[in-house]
């Protein structure tokens, strides 16, 4: 109960902070950068459930993100159906695809799993790129309507920002709930020892597929939010590079830490905006920061913060769920 109160307080605190940010700053040109960060955070939180908790890597999550974005785009634009239909269809399709892919794929382990998810991501990318009649091909898909829900059009960037922040808060809360349950324990158990999990009666295949589908669904939610925010999608946003960036967000933020995933997503999405002033050497700095972070923060940003807190308080380390 105490743990739950702390989670609730943390999420509430997060919402207050996120809500206050636009008021603290005078110019809102960065609002979309933050909205994008939160969208990425939604995927990173899901991917962390899969990677950080259940210990299963995926190098194909950009594909789920893209698949949902394109599905909603096509349904709302080409077929002119309501946005809610498009979004639901996008999320549902990803759920089904993830389930079907998950069955054979999650039997693989370690690098072989990485390779299989990567291959799947590439196949989806190529299909999006080549079914030009449907997706608009490499030049992208234009004219997607801006999000309207229950008669309210999220026209301003600020309203969209709040919407995404609230959805992210829900995703965080749901994920925290999951971790602190028998399901969460089962996932962490699978991570450390598959045989030990099996013999105490945990159906590891079922849980692996469950968490894979769940993380794909989070990516899909992010995908449809993205499509109706930018109102344009192009295949290049959903390629292998983005999948790797997502994994980087999770590891840099801190494996097995929900708040770490959020921080990692924020950090890696906003970092290039900072580095812009350095122009040419931006990419060098980006690479160097990545290396330095991993060298000095082996537990990611979350791990580093936990260590810091431990030093400050001189007390016991924080619990894993954080």
């Amino acid at each position: 109960m105490q743990g739950f109160r702390r989670d609730l307080a943390a999420v509430a605190g997060f919402l207050v902070f996120v809500g206050a940010v636009p008021r603290l700053l005078t110019n809102d040109y960065y609002i979309n950068a933050l909205t994008l960060s939160w969208i990425h955070a939604i995927i990173a939180v899901g991917l962390n459930l899969l990677m950080g908790y259940a210990g299963q890597i995926s190098l194909g999550h950009a594909a789920f993100y893209g698949l949902a974005a394109y599905t909603s785009a096509i349904i709302t634009t080409t077929l002119s159906l309501p946005i809610l239909v498009g979004m639901s269809a996008g999320i549902a399709l990803v759920g089904i695809v993830a389930y079907l892919i998950g069955i054979p794929t999650l039997k693989l382990k370690g690098h072989y799993l990485a390779m299989a998810t990567l291959g799947f991501g590439i196949i989806i990318y190529i299909v999006i790129n080549e079914t030009i009649g449907l997706t608009g091909g490499p030049s992208g898909f234009t004219g997607i309507p801006r999000l309207t829900l229950f008669g309210y059009k999220f026209e301003s960037d600020l309203s969209y920002y709040y919407l995404v922040a609230i959805i992210l808060a829900c995703v965080i809360l749901v994920s925290l709930n999951l971790i602190h349950s028998r399901v969460g324990r089962a996932l962490r158990a699978i991570h450390t020892s598959e045989v030990a999990s099996l013999v105490i009666g945990i159906d590891i295949a079922k849980y692996k597929i469950f968490v894979f589908v769940l993380s794909a669904l989070f990516a899909a939610i992010a995908g449809v939010l993205y499509a109706h925010l930018i109102t344009f999608v192009a295949p290049s946003s959903f390629g292998f590079n983005f999948s790797v960036e997502l994994v980087t967000m999770v590891v840099l933020g801190g494996m097995a830490s929900i708040w770490g995933a959020v921080t990692g997503a924020l950090f890696l999405t906003v970092l290039p905006e900072f580095l812009r002033t350095f122009e040419n050497i931006e990419i060098l700095l980006y690479g160097a920061i990545l290396i330095v972070c991993m060298v000095f923060l082996p537990g990611g940003i979350a791990g580093g913060c936990a260590k810091l807190l431990k030093l400050v308080r001189g007390g016991k380390g924080e619990n894993v769920g954080l």
Partner: protein, 293 residues
């Protein structure tokens, strides 16, 4: 389509495939001693090609000398990467180390872009550009160079791993690092060595490929990706598997483009690889490790 077309697909596929195979070989060497998938492997290939171009076009050293220097420099870069980025975090988890190599790859690519710009460069073919034709099937002399060098590298590496004390030490590390340390193998030295050899193999690939595929600061991305796929499909850790995986991927792409659809050739190749993985979950030539509980 005649038989000569199919033969042509095969030859093209083998040529492209050996480029993947060479990259895959580099992955395998580092993986075997450290357990890391080195995402910067593609950058070694890039450096091999770009440095050759650099020595040839800017410093006018002549082709053989340029290639030699590029191999040397890339090997040193490999050593530097190990010393400055891998060694300080050697006790980190494997996934952290992999992220470090991603950082290294971004950094190296960025540096190459700043130094040599964003253009593509070509290296002259080693022995003239006139292709040889066998019954309607064209084979460039460079393809023969590539195949020959790939094969000799494979055998050299095999000899190295089975005959020399260093090679055996590296193999031992791959089986059990702690045990190797206990029997007095300098694990740290072996890791350094594996990065150097891997860089060298990558650079050889980059230099011999540049005449055919051309080179630019960003060729490493795609080659890294395909090389990774090849070394997994061959069975991670097995150098011959890596080479075979590369050739298979190349041939699949070539036949995919020629017979099925050029738009979906990569999708076709990866689909076949996925099915292969589902049937053989530890790659074509990977040993299934018996889990002891």
């Amino acid at each position: 389509m005649g038989i000569s077309s199919y033969l042509q697909f095969l030859v093209s596929g083998l040529t492209v495939g050996s480029t993947y195979g060479l990259t895959a070989l580099g992955f395998t060497i580092i993986f075997n001693t450290t357990g890391i998938i080195n995402f910067a492997q593609g950058e070694f290939v890039m450096l091999g090609g770009m440095l050759s171009v650099f020595f040839l076009k800017w410093l006018h050293l002549g082709l053989p000398l340029s290639v030699l220097f590029s191999l040397l420099v890339t090997t040193l870069v490999g050593a530097a990467i190990e010393q400055f980025t891998i060694k300080p975090v050697k006790d980190s988890s494997v996934i952290n180390l992999i992220i470090v190599t991603i950082g290294v790859s971004i950094f190296t690519r960025g540096l190459a872009m700043l130094i040599w710009g964003k253009d593509t460069f070509a290296l002259p073919q080693f022995s003239g550009s006139a292709p040889l034709t066998f019954g309607g099937v064209a084979v460039t002399t460079q393809s023969i160079w590539i195949l020959a060098i790939t094969l000799s590298l494979l055998f050299l590496l095999r000899a190295f791993f089975t005959k020399t004390i260093y090679g055996k030490g590296m193999l031992a590390c791959s089986y059990d690092r702690k045990a190797s340390y206990l029997v007095g193998i300098g694990v740290q030295k072996m890791v350094l060595l594996s990065f150097m050899i891997s860089a060298l193999v990558g650079a050889v690939g980059g230099a011999i490929l540049a005449p055919v595929t051309m080179t630019s600061y960003d060729v490493g991305i795609l080659l890294g990706l395909k090389g990774f796929a090849a070394c997994i499909i061959g069975g991670l850790g097995n150098p011959f598997g890596a080479a075979a995986g590369g050739l298979l991927l190349g041939v699949l792409e070539s036949f995919g483009a020629g017979v099925i659809s050029s738009a979906y050739k990569d999708a076709f190749a990866f689909l076949v690889l996925l099915i292969l993985l589902f049937v053989k979950p530890s790659g074509l030539f990977g040993q299934t490790r018996v889990e002891r509980v």
